[in-house]
Amino acid sequence: MSEAERDEADLDALLGAAATDLAADGRPRAGDDALIARSIDGAIARTKAQGADRSSSRKRSAHAVALVAAVLVVATGAFGWIEHAGIARRIREQTRAPEVMPRSSRASTPTTVPPEAAQAVEASSAETPELSSTPAPQSPAIDLTAPELFAQANDTRRRGDAVAAARQYGALQRRFPRSPEASLSHVALGRLYLDRLVDPGRALAQFDEYLVGGRDGELGEEALVGRALALQRLGRADEERSAWRTLLDAFPRSLSADRASARLAELH
């Protein structure tokens, strides 16, 4: 065996020993099943929330495109009327004058477009930056719509900043309490409190808010599961038992049915 081969073998032996040491830390532990179940529940809830987020984003884009099209029709009609009235030349001269020059990004837009139409174009461009030739300015949070706030909070949560995400979900709920996004956010925020912020009391309040709001919608099952888990962590066994039963009654084929049954057996 050459010197280089011996050295390689030594290195392999060293790494092998370290790997064996590491492997000892990888052994299964008590409580792994529960840890795995919680992680899977959390991942599924996030997947569902992302699906809802994508769906509302698609709707928003469709609305924006329709709005832009309508505004263009109005603007074209207005410009045609102006041409017909024989004042187009004067308007073009005005648009060249520095004191009435519109923003450079919209240099071709006549200044005589009805103000409400111009505002609508501006608003729709801000909502759909991909339709604008220049980047939309950074909107302050106060100007965000419910879907935008929801998307922002979801992004923050995905980046792992649970505290900031919780704050943004809270802002959404305060500003747009009746919006579908605020409704969905109760479940997302509930999971955040439950899984990341270790605050089952607040988690429970969020799940309850979703359920008592009469929104037995697409996340009803997740809300019931979250509620039962929150009660479990709060040690409120009687209410937890009742929560699991409610889940099984409402969603007998729930993906968490086995877990609910097992927990009910433990609580019996």
Binding site: L11, L14, L15, G16, A19, T20, D21, S39, R46
Partner: protein
């Protein structure tokens, strides 16, 4: 019975992990992965249930067994697997793929934590003298520590190659195959990583004392 170091992580997962094209054609999770990728929520949950137990060992090996964010990292890894399925081309079994995603996620977490105060907490925790332990236990603990810290400090490509070798038990050939990197490049990365490990261990004063005690 001593466990083969390269098979230990696989054995610990409790599941055989075949590697290679012939086994891949019988990948029991391939169909489930396709359904999960298409957005079927039930399939996603079944896939998570199938792979999650095999993800915990590599996560614990890299993060440490008592890591406070283990559950969150597992959850992130599951989401990452789902997202990654869109670009997964069957270079390995789905379970291999899932374990690679989890391993990479754990390395990312360690490297991110390196810049935070948590590292200080870990160091303080380590430096607190505990009850007397056998020399072998101390040596093993320090080797583990050095290996984990290397995963934070090495250039990312070396760290990933090292983890795939030491944690997932992949051969150089397998690492080259799944990462799409030439064999010699992988071998070179591993050699540099192993030399870095040797350097750390050789310059560890505590380990030197232990060696002297033994001799």
């Amino acid at each position: 019975m001593r466990v083969d170091p390269w098979q230990a992580p696989l054995a610990l997962s409790g599941q055989p992990l075949p590697f290679g094209a012939s086994e891949m054609s019988f990948d029991p999770l391939a169909q489930l992965a396709r359904e999960a990728r298409s957005g079927d929520l039930q399939a996603q949950r079944r896939l998570f249930e199938a792979v999650a137990p095999a993800l915990l060992p590599p996560l614990r090996m890299i993060l440490g067994p008592g890591h406070r964010d283990l559950e969150d990292v597992l959850q992130d890894a599951l989401i990452g697997i789902l997202h990654g399925l869109s670009s997964f081309r069957g270079e390995s079994t789905v379970l291999h793929f899932a374990r690679r995603v989890a391993t990479k996620r754990a390395i990312d977490v360690r490297r991110r934590e390196r810049t935070t105060s948590r590292k200080l907490e870990r160091v303080r925790q380590f430096d607190v003298p505990g009850p007397p332990t056998p020399r072998e236990t101390i040596v093993a603990e320090r080797r583990r520590r050095h290996l984990r810290e290397l995963l934070e400090e090495l250039p990312e490509a070396q760290a990933v190659a090292l983890a795939m070798r030491a944690v997932l038990g992949h051969s150089v050939d397998e690492i080259a195959q799944v990462t799409g990197v030439p064999f010699n490049t992988v071998r070179s990365r591993l050699r540099l990583a192993k030399e870095a490990l040797r350097l750390r261990i050789e310059t560890d004063a505590s380990l030197g004392e232990l060696r002297e005690e033994k001799s």
